[in-house]
């Protein structure tokens, strides 16, 4: 779709919504209009930068040491003749972090296929097991090494949090992987995994958006992808323009949010001192 067609579609959708709104907006929850418009603006911003990236415009992304280190970690495992351990979190595919973890697994499995390194992926949920198996299978196929893939490289342990931690610890202590990658949603077991990995001398790279666990990973791992860096990992590893454009779009959305916060503070101040009659908090409230 070229720019002209895209702008015509956007204009058409906006016009249709305006007609729907002035026609009485049946079935629309009016109290949530601000949230609806926010989603439209944010989505529009994302799409604008994705299209910009697809057109070939150069978008700067700063280096993330943790992502650069993934290839080094896999290389280290290859040299030492030891496996790579990858843990895609302990939650199910309904969590976006788990989805991001499986995406990164796809890239890591491409590296392990290329370098002919053993990959061990213990999982905590059956649906994640299937998704991870598919991701690994496709990666090995794309690298031209379908013979190296086997279903058991991604295997289910247990749903139970600490039983899973005990199982992964056992794998670490027995097989002594040279690289341990923790990418996904974690809870209290994060430090147990990271400390055990540290005790076997493995290089450890973690990526999570679980706020409470980030400090533990930062303390115990060699590299940590914090929050958004983890979600941006697929863009960095694939270098696909649309994904890089998405990362840029996210940053621009953050600028919009910061501007809204500053503007909101100013408006609230003016409202509190009686200069204006407009309560920004009431306007932004979502029910």
């Amino acid at each position: 779709m070229n720019d002209r067609d895209f702008m015509i579609s956007v204009g058409g959708i906006s016009l249709a919504f305006l007609i729907y709104w002035f026609a009485g907006h049946p079935y629309f929850v009016t109290e949530r209009l601000v949230m609806f418009l926010t989603i439209m603006i944010f989505s529009g911003t994302l799409m604008f930068y994705i299209r910009k990236a697809r057109r070939g415009e150069d978008i700067f992304l700063r280096d993330i040491p943790g992502l650069k280190a993934i290839e080094e970690a896999v290389g280290r495992s290859t040299e030492m003749g030891k496996p790579v351990l990858y843990v895609p979190g302990i939650m199910d595919m309904d969590q976006v972090e788990t989805v991001a973890g499986v995406i990164v697994l796809g890239h890591v499995s491409k590296m392990t296929a290329r370098y002919e390194t053993t990959l061990n992926v213990p999982v905590s949920r059956a649906i994640v097991m299937k998704a991870a198996q598919e991701a690994c299978k496709e990666s090995y196929l794309m690298e031209g090494r379908p013979d190296m893939f086997h279903d058991d490289m991604v295997h289910y342990l247990t749903d139970e949090q600490f039983a899973f931690a005990a199982g992964v610890n056992g794998i670490m202590v027995r097989e002594k992987p040279a690289a341990c990658l923790y990418m996904g949603k974690f809870y209290a077991e994060s430090l147990i995994l990271a400390e055990t990995g540290n005790s076997i001398g493995a290089i450890q790279i973690a990526g999570t958006a679980s706020q409470a666990q980030i400090p533990f990973f930062v303390t115990a791992c060699d590299y940590t992808l914090i929050g958004e860096e983890f979600f941006a990992a697929s863009a960095y590893l694939s270098q696909r323009p649309e994904l890089i454009g998405g990362v840029k779009g996210q940053d621009m959305i953050k600028v919009i949010v910061i501007a809204t916060i500053l503007g909101g503070v100013l408006l609230r101040l003016l409202n509190d001192i009686g200069l204006i009659n407009f309560n920004i908090l009431q306007f932004l409230k979502v029910t």
Binding site: M91, Q161, F162, Y187, A188, S199, Q211, A212, T287
Partner: protein, 281 residues
């Protein structure tokens, strides 16, 4: 001086198993030889107490237990204390669980406090509705229609046959929510889908590690106070005047924290000595 520096350097690179041994002793010894350190409630704990104390007698209180055996030492004491406070003020307590493990522990707490200590009647003074799978969907279900979600309670009795369920159809029929949460689903889901949209007041008790995540909601006034881990449980026990497991664990936690700080300081002193020496040479 050099001898002391060398000793500190040696101690700052000690095998971690010695650290494990010292931590174990620092936790075990105060349990056998209590120090009796005074417990002073923090403002956030006081807020929970004041909010519950201000509820009119006979209010309908929803208590949600989402914790398991691993987090029992932190959360169970606060659940017991809150139940004691609620039963003392003659409130009606309805207990749900978003975690399957929570049902076992909730049952244990209700038997101990409701049945044994206060001699209350199940079905008239308190009821255990039990666990339902679905995470946020359970919260949303309770908000919209609790009877669609809970047709029977944890003992298999039909909800229509439980006297205290009369007039309770949705979340807004409750006067207060207390969420005892150790993770997901838990406090944040209750705030997002239940308490904030319906303006039903809520308080929470969480593990110490989760306090960070919940504190923005407390600061914004969406959650009325928070019991932060075992210290929060001990503070609440002090406020209601019934010391329990939380209080007995505080001496051990205090000494363990002090030992960890001393280890960190020792490690840093060794680091500075090593850095100075390498600069010198």
């Amino acid at each position: 001086m050099k001898y002391i520096s060398d000793l500190i350097l040696k101690m700052s690179s000690v095998d971690r198993r010695w650290i494990f041994l010292v931590i174990a002793l620092s936790v075990i010894l105060p349990l056998y030889f209590p120090l009796g350190l005074p417990i002073r409630p923090t403002p956030t704990t006081q807020q929970v107490y004041d909010t519950i104390d201000a509820l009119p007698h006979g209010s309908k209180i929803l208590v949600s237990c989402e914790y398991g055996p691993s987090t029992k030492p932190e959360i169970h004491p606060m659940v017991l204390s809150v139940l004691r406070h609620l039963f003392k003020n003659e409130h009606k307590v309805y207990v749900t669980c978003l975690w399957p493990d929570g049902q076992f522990l909730a049952s244990e707490a209700l038997d101990l406090v409701g049945r044994d200590e206060y001699g209350l009647t199940y079905g008239e003074d308190y009821v255990l509705l039990g666990f339902r799978p679905g995470n946020e969907a359970v919260v949303k279900g309770i908000v919209s229609d609790i009877r669609k979600l809970y047709t029977i309670d944890a003992k298999g009795t039909k909800v229509t046959e439980i006297p205290m369920m009369n007039g309770v159809n949705r979340f807004e029929d409750f006067d207060f929510l207390f969420s005892a949460s150790a993770g997901y689903p838990g406090t944040i889901e209750w705030v997002q889908y239940a308490a904030d949209p319906t303006n039903v007041p809520m308080s929470t008790g969480t593990t110490s590690i989760q306090v960070n995540e919940v504190m923005p909601y407390v600061a914004a006034g969406q959650v009325q106070g928070i019991l932060a881990g075992m210290p929060g449980a001990a503070e609440y026990e002090a406020l209601i005047g019934v010391p329990g497991i939380g209080t007995s664990g505080m001496d051990a936690q205090s000494i363990a924290h002090l030992v960890i700080v001393l280890f960190i300081v020792l490690g840093n002193v060794g680091y500075l000595i090593e850095r100075n020496r390498s600069k010198k040479y």
